[in-house]
Amino acid sequence: MAQPLPKGQMASMPKRIAPWPPVLRAFLWAGIGFVVLAAIAAWLDPSPNSPYLTAVGSVAGWFGALIGWLLGIGGYDYIVRPMMGYPTPRVRTSGWRRYYEYALDHKVIGLQYLGASTGTFLVAGLIAMAMRFQLMNYQPTLFHYPEDYLNAVGIHGTLMMFTVATVAMVGGLGNYFVPLMIGTRETMFPKASGISVWLVPIGVLTISMSPLLGQWSTGWRGYEPLAASDGSGLLYYYLGVFALTTSSLIVAINLTATILFKRTKGMTWNRLPLFAWGILTVSLLNIIWLPEIQATFILGMLDKVMPLNLFNVFGQPLGYEYLFWLFGHPEVYIVVIPALAIWNEILPVMGRKSLFARPIAVLGLVFVMLLSGMVWAHHMFTMMRFSEMLPFSFFTEMISIPTGFAYLAAIGTLWNSRLRITTPTLLVLMSMFNFLIGGLTGLFLADVPANLQLHNTFFVVGHFHYTIIGGMVFSWMAAMYYWLPKFSGRTYSEFWGKLGAIWVFIAFNATFLNFFILGLHGMNRWVSAYPKYLQPENFWTSIAAFFLGAGFGINIIHIVWAWIKGPKVKENPWDAKTLEWQTSSPPPAKNFDVLPEVVGSFYTYGDNVPDPVVIPSVQEQTPGL
């Protein structure tokens, strides 16, 4: 909250005080926080069953651990004490240790988010592999009890949705690139941003370790009244999601304010890069819907630890579902909008052709955002009256129109272009194909008669994996390859990049096209044992899924290798026009020596098109020098 200090004052800031690594201190303080608050809760609410840890105590202890963790990692030194008037210590600005500490540099924070997302993607992916291993056989093998399998499904889904899908593109790429793309040196609230990323590890640990408190079987949705019969592990599902969504909320507020107020001279709304538009629209969705689901989950948690009947069978179970899906469907667009933006960020650069119908591409993102709150009840057609279904069915089909705007702009740009078939191009084209399948199958599910037949089958699972993995993860990979020279000053091997892209594309489609067929043949979700006639198809689906997992592994290894050891490359290898390419690669600490001025569109190509960026002299930018 404290405002930034004038430049001259930075030099007089006290030196860093780091007697030991902040992460270790954070763990210690988290432990102390847990013990203290759990003890207070046990004292206030003694349990005859456990003198040490009650359900209330585990919740109170978690909040103690959260506070201890955030204070220990840097919140105490860099936020709380300065708020109270004490001087702010300096933040480490070089060396590898800065990635494991509290940071103010948006690029460091972006990489911290990307690291957390990628690590969690691997963990949740391994859980998916275990699930597919189980489903190779129609009888229980790896998971001996249905609850074990369901808990694995829940942790997989929760981690993927709240740590990967929601975080990688916005917290990771958004934090790193938005300030660069709009021509500023820092985000609007760097102190809050520096602490927000440290909510991710505690959220991931909380969810991953939740089964230690008791299994939960509700999937990533915490569905009531099923949740009422779950173990106390569900409490840590709610709390883990609370930490993760708080992190995303801070990112959303910070990046929205940054885009609104920190654009460089000449960066009008008509010139704002597509990716920044995507981050802005998705952040507005986050600002509205993340607090909504946080409040809902805290209510769900209170329902379990207090003698209340809010959402269980004595209360309003459907009320929980309403509140969940009010967030749940916009969440899909929170995940996908940055992907749509990435397509139209990369294609004009690779095609050397002006972006087709740029205003339409932007309007598509905006209207997807606006309509996303009007479609949620299509998840609940099996529990509704026909008269209530119509508007939600209508809006669900209508939202395909602004989504189609992204395709219109992309295809118009591709038309007659001299497209360079690079790895990012391939991945964007693959993402467009995959998302098209996801969108078309979504139309089936928006249609009430088809929905009632396909509800809770693998058809639905195939549909949303086509949108989330097919749309978002492929675009994320495209963005990583596209911006790799910017991150590291190095580039990747086109051979391995294309091989990795084709590998995951084939394996992905072999896996998830089968999901549609399995669903049509009667394969239910949420089951680890199923009718024997479905086993051969499930077996081959699992084999394809293992190839998919390996393909993602190859891409990650390749990107990490290229980042560290890849051949050095010129600073703007794609000859892109957006501002992040107008500074050195990797960018310096303060991004630009002199803030650039924008005088034209970044997406206009052709003969005699003037450069859209002007770099003023230092004297021009600093009157009085």
């Binding site: 109270m84 654009r263 460089t264 805290i298 209340l308 809010l310």
Partner: protein
Amino acid sequence: MVSVKGGSVNGENGVGVKHYRAGFSLFLISQAVVFMVLIAVRYLIAGSKVGPYSQSLGVVITVVMLISAWLAYSARKAAEHNNGQAIQTRLTGAFWLGVLAFALVLIMWTVVKNAGYSVTMPSLEVFWVGTGFWLVYVLLGLFLLFAARSRGRLVGYTPNQHWDLEASSHFWNLVTVGWIALWIVFFIL
């Protein structure tokens, strides 16, 4: 340096305090959504029934919070007039009135609990969770008021440099508006 009413900051790309104010308002809007959920849940679970909680205590808490919010606001105004002594006095007043409001809600809980009503009566369930959420916001708001007061003592505020105080005051206003919304929904409608 960009200087605007209420403060000045290092003005990269022309950013001033009014922009920080607008950015902070995004946070306040997001937190207003939480209160909207609580109000929605009240109607979802309990319909429009008013529970058996003390109407008079509800009025007292509302008045206490209004005075507290006014004191926080006037502390901000005192900063604009460079009146350090008034800042300290008013922030202290706002803080202790906030503590009083917190205590009054706890007293109201105790009174209702000891009156023999079932804890799981729907109108009481939503009352517990609604006011319970609010108490968490009060705790956070009290910390911010305390921090603003401490910063005023150690660093001081000037007419152009008091964003920390202003942000604390804005958050405290949100807490007050949140209470008034809950009071209207739970006690009156």
